[in-house]
């Protein structure tokens, strides 16, 4: 959380645009890993020069992921085109003791794909084939570089889809989804990535290949697939991923309700849950988030609302209609001052557009912001929001709130101006206090963004020493040399530096990606 200052070398992207030495040693004292010209020479024997980068503009774009304020210059970047190249690369790294970071589109919000000094980045975007899609058995086997939404596109002719929908789904890759167990607005009913992965072919950090799970929904061994998913790259790289496909819901009912207070919106959610309804999604935005979304994409949200609630029912039409009549009663009872129902698919998209753009939209209200991701028990949402408000006042920083209300997953956005001295530290302090509040309420420090580099100091606050020791022990057994995405989730002494946060990722500014 609290960042160390960026090393001078890593902070200046321009410098890396210049011709650099072939072997770029990391700043002294940052890494225990040996770096030899022998390693690079061997790497060159595996890759042609256009797929092995050690400098240049393309190289710079790999220095950070969507947590763009964390930057680290790697030794080299390789772009494999087939599975065999990945395996050979990992085996080589193992022999030479060189750390590697596998990366897809780099949309991690927790710094999960931040390079390691003295290590290489393995860019997997070219492994983007859907190897097999079986509509009758309802699964697909895909390579790690396949973009999330492309699985659903390929499955749509059969009336099927891949359910998890992180809001970066048009660019994020399935390999990254697996590593970080990505969620999305619609995981309330059908779960996150882990609930939709049936099997994996993986390469372990020592270069050996293993198969976990299969194509069946059931298994007769411990759930090693479940253990691998969400392990943040510490257990190696997924080479092939078998995902479950589900039927596209027959009908949707999407309703937008505006309230004069956030508390009323929260109470409506409690009522909906208590009534036994199981919506596909339930989202709340506060006034600041509404303002931002409206400024960015004009979804037509009522601007004077203090709390905006989006509820979406999905499923078989008869069931959805029956649920809708219950929902309508509950909503009327919750006394929103404005209600809008999507009458068709484009109106539904319009309602979602504002919500899905909310994170990047906040960039219009503030030069800098921190995206947080924490979970509290659903029944304590109101209390948590009040507490966040209190903290926000105390720190004199504005906080916009966007959250998956159905599962208690908060996404406070802390606004600050990085050009003011001490503002970043203040914002980070607030972020930390919000996460501590989540822990105190019996929740979690992350619902879907993962621990990554960003929250590794927080993990020991959520778990006790024994649990952390056990995680480290598992990590050591799977990766004795600690070369697979080191410095993520679990702390290291030679920590990757935590540089200054500077706001939006260039892709966000261009409107290509947005944050959940």
């Amino acid at each position: 959380m609290s960042g160390k200052s960026l090393s001078e070398k890593g902070s200046d992207p321009l410098r890396h645009g210049q011709k650099t030495n072939e072997i770029d040693l990391p700043p002294k004292g940052q890494t225990p890993f040996r770096i030899g010209s022998k390693f690079l020479a061997r790497l060159r024997s595996l890759y042609p020069s256009d797929r092995l980068l050690t400098h240049g503009p393309a190289f710079v774009s790999y220095e950070s992921d969507a947590l763009s304020t964390l930057r680290q210059r790697p030794l080299a970047i390789v772009i494999p085109q087939c599975e065999a190249e990945i395996i050979e690369t990992v085996a080589l790294c193992f022999e030479e003791g060189i750390p590697f970071v596998a990366r897809g589109s780099g949309t991690s919000l927790s710094g999960g794909a931040t390079p390691v000094a003295g290590g290489i980045v393995i860019g997997l975007n070219r492994l983007h084939r859907i190897l097999h899609l079986d509509p009758a058995e309802r699964y697909a086997i895909v390579e790690p570089g396949v973009v999330n939404v492309n699985i659903s596109k390929a499955a749509s002719p059969y009336g099927l889809m891949y359910a998890p929908d992180p809001s970066s789904q048009t660019v994020c890759t399935i390999g990254g989804n697996v590593a970080f167990n990505s969620g999305g607005a619609h995981c309330l009913k059908y779960g996150m990535t882990s609930n939709h992965v049936l099997g994996l072919k993986i390469v372990l950090p020592n270069g050996s290949v293993d198969h976990l799970g299969g194509t069946s929904l059931e298994s007769d061994s411990p759930d090693y697939v479940g253990m691998f998913v969400g392990s943040e790259g510490l257990f190696g790289i997924a080479l092939q991923i078998t995902v479950r496909l589900v039927p596209v819901p027959e009908s949707y009912r999407t309703v937008l309700c505006a309230y004069h207070s956030l508390r009323e919106a929260g109470e409506a959610v409690s009522q909906i849950i208590a009534a036994g309804l199981l919506p596909g999604a339930m989202e709340i935005m506060d006034r600041l988030a509404i303002e931002a979304a409206e400024a960015a994409v004009r979804p037509g949200y009522p601007l004077d609302a203090e709390g905006l609630l989006i509820v979406e029912l999905e499923g078989e039409s008869g069931q959805v209609e029956a649920e809708y009549s219950v929902l309508s009663r509950l909503i009327a009872h919750s006394k929103p001052y404005y209600v809008r129902e999507a009458k068709n698919s484009s109106e539904r998209q319009q309602i979602w557009k504002g919500r899905k753009s909310a994170f990047s939209a906040v960039g219009r209200l503030s030069p800098d912001f921190i995206v947080q991701d924490g979970v509290v028990p659903r029944g304590r949402l109101g209390e948590a929001l009040e507490e966040i408000k209190r903290l926000s006042t105390r720190h004199q920083l504005r906080v916009a709130n966007v959250f998956h209300a159905g599962d208690g997953n908060l996404h406070p956005l802390i606004l600050f101006d990085g050009s003011q001295s001490g503002a970043l530290q203040q914002a980070e302090k607030l972020a930390e206090e919000i996460l501590e509040l989540c822990i105190r309420f019996g929740g979690s420090i992350t619902g879907e963004h993962g621990v990554g580099v960003e929250k590794r100091e927080m993990l020991p606050k959520m778990y006790r020493e024994d649990e952390i020791a056990s995680m480290q022990q598992i990590r050591r057994e799977v990766d004795p040399s600690g070369i697979s995405n080191p410095g993520k989730m679990l702390q290291r002494d030679d920590a990757v530096p935590m540089p200054v946060r500077t706001g939006l990722h260039p892709l966000e500014k261009a409107g290509v990606i947005s944050r959940e």
Partner: protein
């Protein structure tokens, strides 16, 4: 390990509090025998347990630790009877949608997790792996680990709760488990539909499973009355107002379908969940996809083995007096229930490197016997 089972009373440890067990576990770690955890013994009775192992009986380690109906989450000790949990949830119109197995025979929550014992309802929203949120367990180093979380969404740290599903005692001693639950549908409805050939039945099953009709369960069974016919058994659940129109829609897809009345439906699904169809024979579970059904049927047809293809063709349950040839053919390692007296406890294939690494980390002294 070589084992020949006998009706003996093994060295039993019967803790009623986790703290007692933690102390006993520290002592056991310093002594020689391996340990086996037994719960309700609905799947593996004590008689099959090797005499050299110490038995930790978790049946007394029971009780609901926390249940907040508004959060749709409960935490219970491993020895808690699933029937007790079911009753408690029902009082609040909630349920575990995955049809935990052997509930009426006394299955415990810990055994249900360790044996990954979910039934036909697993089709709709997922199985045990999809509902488990947290697990407290003792590992082979003597650590008391509280892993996962007590909220419905949590991406912090490794996913131990899922790892414990299907671990069959090999990775730790389960103490407490946290689950999310779902609102129970107001009403259920079921139908059966017969097909003149296996091919037609599988086609019907796959058509239903890929359709946007929200089905709770789809099972396929050979029709006992006639050798070539197969039956699909389907259950839906939801709002009372919509259930009959939804059922008509389902029946419309299959004109030969028969609607079951509530009594018939209850009998059918209770029988499935409690394996009454298997009598006292041993039962094995084979994870499959539909594509494997014809070969299994071919193998079984001339024998006296009974079959049920559950969870839309994702699990084959097979019962009969002699399952060995079938187990050899499909590489099945475990009996699910009623293992025969001469059943060796461990017949495990060489685990892959990932599994081995996890086992080394959680059980470095090889104290756990996998059942």
């Amino acid at each position: 390990m070589n084992s020949h089972s006998q009706e003996i009373d093994c060295r039993g440890i019967e803790p009623s509090e986790p703290e007692t067990l933690i102390g006993q576990w520290q002592e056991l770690l310093c002594s020689s025998p391996q340990v086996v955890v037994a719960g309700g013994q609905t799947k593996l009775p004590r008689r099959v347990i090797d005499r050299s192992s110490a038995v930790i009986d978790s049946a007394l380690l029971a009780g609901i630790v926390a249940y907040d109906p508004q959060e749709f989450i409960f935490t219970a000790r491993a020895g808690t009877k699933v029937a007790d949990i079911r009753a408690l949830l029902e009082a609040h119109q909630q349920y575990l949608p995955f049809d935990p197995l052997l509930v009426d025979r006394g299955a415990t929550l810990g055994g249900t997790v360790a044996c990954n014992a979910s039934g036909p309802g697993r089709f709709r929203y997922g199985g045990i792996r999809d509902f488990i949120l947290g697990v407290r367990f003792l590992d082979g180093c003597g650590r008391d680990l509280e892993t996962g979380g007590k909220v419905v969404k949590n991406a912090a740290g490794f996913d131990y709760p899922k790892l414990m599903v299907g671990s069959r005692g090999a990775l730790g001693i389960l103490l407490e488990l946290t689950f999310k639950v779902f609102p129970k549908p107001e009403k259920f409805a079921s139908m059966t539909c017969s097909f003149a050939s296996l091919g037609a039945a599988i086609q019907g099953l796959q058509r239903l499973a890929a359709s946007p009709l929200d089905l709770e369960a789809i099972d396929l069974v050979p029709d006992n009355g006639s050798p070539c016919e197969y039956l699909l058994q389907v259950r839906i659940g939801g709002a009372a107002d919509a259930i009959s129109s939804r059922l008509s829609r389902l029946v419309h897809e299959f004109p030969q379908a028969e609607i079951l009345d509530d009594q018939q439906a209850r009998l059918l699904w209770n029988g499935v969940i409690n394996f009454s169809w298997a009598g006292n024979d041993p039962v094995i579970k084979i994870p499959i996809t539909c594509g494997a059904i014809p070969a299994i049927e071919e193998f079984c047809r001339s024998s006296d083995l009974r079959r049920r293809y559950s969870v839309a063709g994702n699990v084959a349950w097979i019962a009969g007096p002699n399952l060995r040839p079938l187990m050899d053919r499909w590489g099945v390692q475990h009996f699910f229930i009623n293992p025969p007296a001469d059943h060796p406890l461990q017949r495990l294939p060489a685990p892959g490197p990932f599994a081995m690494a996890i086992q080394r980390a959680l059980d470095p002294k090889k104290k756990f016997v996998s059942l």
